[in-house]
């Protein structure tokens, strides 16, 4: 198995507040990792550091062989290979769903418009939303918007997908349709790092689980071990509260 993401002793501060404390992590290709933990524990900050939406101050982050730091020349190139799905969808409201999907391939990857549209339609098909391609984000339900956002990220044909609480802003009946799309994606062999509280999804998909608290990785374990016999007391407490 090839390593695709490597974090070594990463520390990050927001002014005085230390959001990440000495975080080390390795992710192999096609590996699925689910990160859980209480709010404010640094889960989102961790994955946002991987595509440098947040900057870390100490330690090393290496994505697909490139170290990410303020000296990284082509951070855009690395970001183009790392897809991200946000809690609030963050679709571009002034563009149709199809244009949302084709914009970055056309302008960042210099793909011809026709090909970009083909790929977009394939990905929209994949998340079962192809019939809404001409609509604008404001006309869709939350679940449809989140699936569109997933399709938009996939159109860049990323090597890694990051999910930042993708179902937290959704109504309960829409969570399943988004999780289904994510399960499909996992089965197709994508490398995924998912921050979520959906433990059912984690059990079904994740290879490894990570539990974070107060900026530290408290526990990292195979999914089965993680749920069946967690080692740390903090993990046990957390699991007992949410399961």
């Amino acid at each position: 198995m090839k390593k695709i993401i490597e974090l070594k002793n990463v520390n990050k501060w927001f002014d005085k507040f230390q959001a990440l404390k000495d975080v080390s992590l390795e992710v192999n290709q096609q590996e699925k990792i689910v990160i859980c933990g209480p709010s404010g524990s640094g889960k989102s900050t961790l994955i946002r550091c991987i595509n440098r939406l947040e900057e870390h101050q100490e330690g090393q982050i290496i994505v697909d062989g490139n170290e990410i730091s303020e000296n990284t020349k082509d951070i855009e190139k690395i970001r183009a290979e790392v897809g991200m799905v946000f809690q609030q969808f963050n679709l571009f409201p002034h563009l149709s769903i199809l244009d949302n999907c084709t914009l970055a391939p056309i302008w960042v990857k210099k793909m011809p418009k026709k090909k970009a549209e083909e790929i977009a339609m394939q990905n929209l098909e994949r998340v079962q939303i192809a019939d809404q391609a001409k609509k604008f984000p404001g006309q869709l339900s939350g679940g449809q918007q989140q699936r569109s956002a997933l399709a938009r990220a996939l159109c860049m044909e990323p090597k890694i997908m990051l999910f930042d609480e993708p179902t937290s802003a959704l109504d309960p009946e829409m969570i399943k349709e988004v999780l289904d799309a994510m399960v499909d994606l996992a089965k197709a062999g994508m490398t995924m790092i998912v921050v979520t509280h959906e433990m059912g999804f984690a059990k079904e998909v994740a290879d490894n689980m990570i539990f974070m608290d107060e900026g530290r990785i408290v526990e990292k374990a195979k999914t089965k071990d993680f749920f069946d016999n967690p080692k740390s007391d903090r993990t046990k407490l957390f699991l007992s509260q949410i399961l």
């Binding site: 855009e76 571009f92 006309q139 990220a153």
Partner: protein, 416 residues
């Protein structure tokens, strides 16, 4: 007392009575205003003056039947006759309008003079439109020599044709027309009007004037202040300290100075700093000053839009691999500019209406030409006609721009 209150039961008697009273009150006002006939002149002065208001008020009271079942009556009562105070307001508003229509019509048309060539032909009490007619060419073309005026016409005709073609052109080639309009046409237009080459006689800019100059200055300033303003807005939010503080300094400098001072500096002070022998045309200096001045305002309007966008839009754009420029031009600006269309329209309207200030440097657009014409010894006392005309023309221009911005807002809306 309750039995006398208008209700469904007595609607058959109250409604016709009310309508008759209201009708009579309006008849009185109309007769009074348009035909100088006082129907109730037999009353003492003050009563006859307020008579229509009183009987109109009683009439409105009589027809104020709640849930009458007559649809139009209910709508009327709900909107303009919901209580005594509203009834009085309604009557007052309508009466004031009726009373003022007649003198306006008289001044504008009935007692106005349209025929003739000199002030002596204006014998009526109304407006002397002869003044506008005689000075019309000057008001439109300024001091531009008569035989050359076709050049201004051609330039504007060309502009309108191009705009028309651009408007209806298929989306694919539209952008080329727009680029041509912005980057090539201005030079063609200026060359055509200014002359000096291609066998066209040179006409110095001091001779330009009137409405055509209003258009020229407005168009140039609008075309250039918009992109400059956008870049200043982006600059002010930049992470690079140098760019950020230069932008802030620039914006605050231009915004903090009155336009009239800026224009004065552009025409009087600026040449002093130039090396001897260099000469920059007065009109260009003025254009530069107005453009920079309005760009500073534009920058703040655009910045308002930029600040209104959620952080998530920036993050989504960056997570897709977009750099600073792509993010701003593809994602951020289209949304931000759409948000601030009302503000942009506001700034541009102010720009158009600021053009008369160029009189401080001796250039005369429409209002300036009127100032000149009214001081002509043969045409003294024509200020009213002149400024009413200028006001109408400016209103038409500004109203058209305002409507266009509203259409644009509707067209670009993607909600629901």
């Amino acid at each position: 007392m309750n039995t006398l209150k208008p209700s469904k039961h007595n609607i058959k008697t109250y409604l016709p009575a009310g309508i008759i009273l209201i009708a009579f009150s309006f008849l009185d006002v109309i007769m009074n205003s348009f035909f100088q006939i006082d129907l109730v002149g037999f009353f003492p002065g003050i009563i006859s003056y307020f008579f229509p208001l009183i009987i109109g008020f009683i009439g409105l009271y009589l027809i104020r039947v709640e849930f009458s079942g007559v649809r139009n009556l209910d709508i009327l009562n709900k909107n303009i006759n919901s209580n005594n105070f509203n009834a009085v307001l309604t009557l007052l508003t309508l009466f004031v309008i009726l009373k003022s229509i007649s003198p306006l019509i008289n001044w504008f048309f009935l007692e106005a003079n349209f025929v003739g060539n000199s002030k002596e032909d204006c014998t009526g009490d109304g407006a002397c439109w002869v003044f506008i007619k005689v000075w019309f060419r000057r008001l439109i073309y300024g001091m531009y020599p008569d035989p050359e005026q076709w050049r201004i016409n051609t330039a504007f005709l060309l502009l309108f044709t191009l705009v028309g073609i651009t408007f209806f052109a298929p989306a694919k080639i539209k952008k080329y027309f727009i680029l041509f309009l912005i980057f090539v046409y201005p030079f063609i237009g200026i060359k055509l009007i200014g002359g000096g080459d291609f066998g066209l006689t040179y006409v110095e800019t001091a001779a330009w004037g009137g409405l055509s100059l209003t258009f020229i200055i407005s168009a140039f300033a609008i075309i250039f202040c918009f992109p400059i303003g956008v870049f200043l807005a982006l600059g002010r939010r930049s992470n690079l300290p140098a760019i950020k503080y230069i932008s802030i300094g620039f914006i605050e400098l231009w915004r903090g100075v009155p336009l009239i001072t800026v224009l004065f500096m552009a025409s009087v002070m600026f040449p002093m700093f130039l090396p001897d022998g260099t000469f920059i045309d007065k009109l260009i200096r003025v254009l530069f000053a107005i453009t920079m001045f309005e760009a500073a305002y534009m920058a703040e309007v655009v910045r308002g839009g930029l600040q209104a966008l959620p952080k998530g839009q920036y993050e989504a754009a960056r997570s897709l691999g977009m750099g600073y420029w792509r993010m701003n031009f593809l994602i951020i600006l289209p949304q931000a500019l759409k948000l601030v269309i009302p503000g942009i329209a506001n700034t541009l309207l102010a720009l158009v209406k600021d053009t008369p200030l160029i009189f401080v440097v001796g250039l005369m657009e429409l209002a300036g030409m009127i100032r000149l014409a009214k001081t002509n010894p043969n045409w003294l006392g024509m200020a009213m006609e002149g400024y009413v005309f200028a006001g109408l023309v400016f209103w038409i221009i500004c109203y058209a721009m305002s409507r266009y911005s509203q259409n644009l807002e509707k067209k670009l809306s993607t909600e629901r």
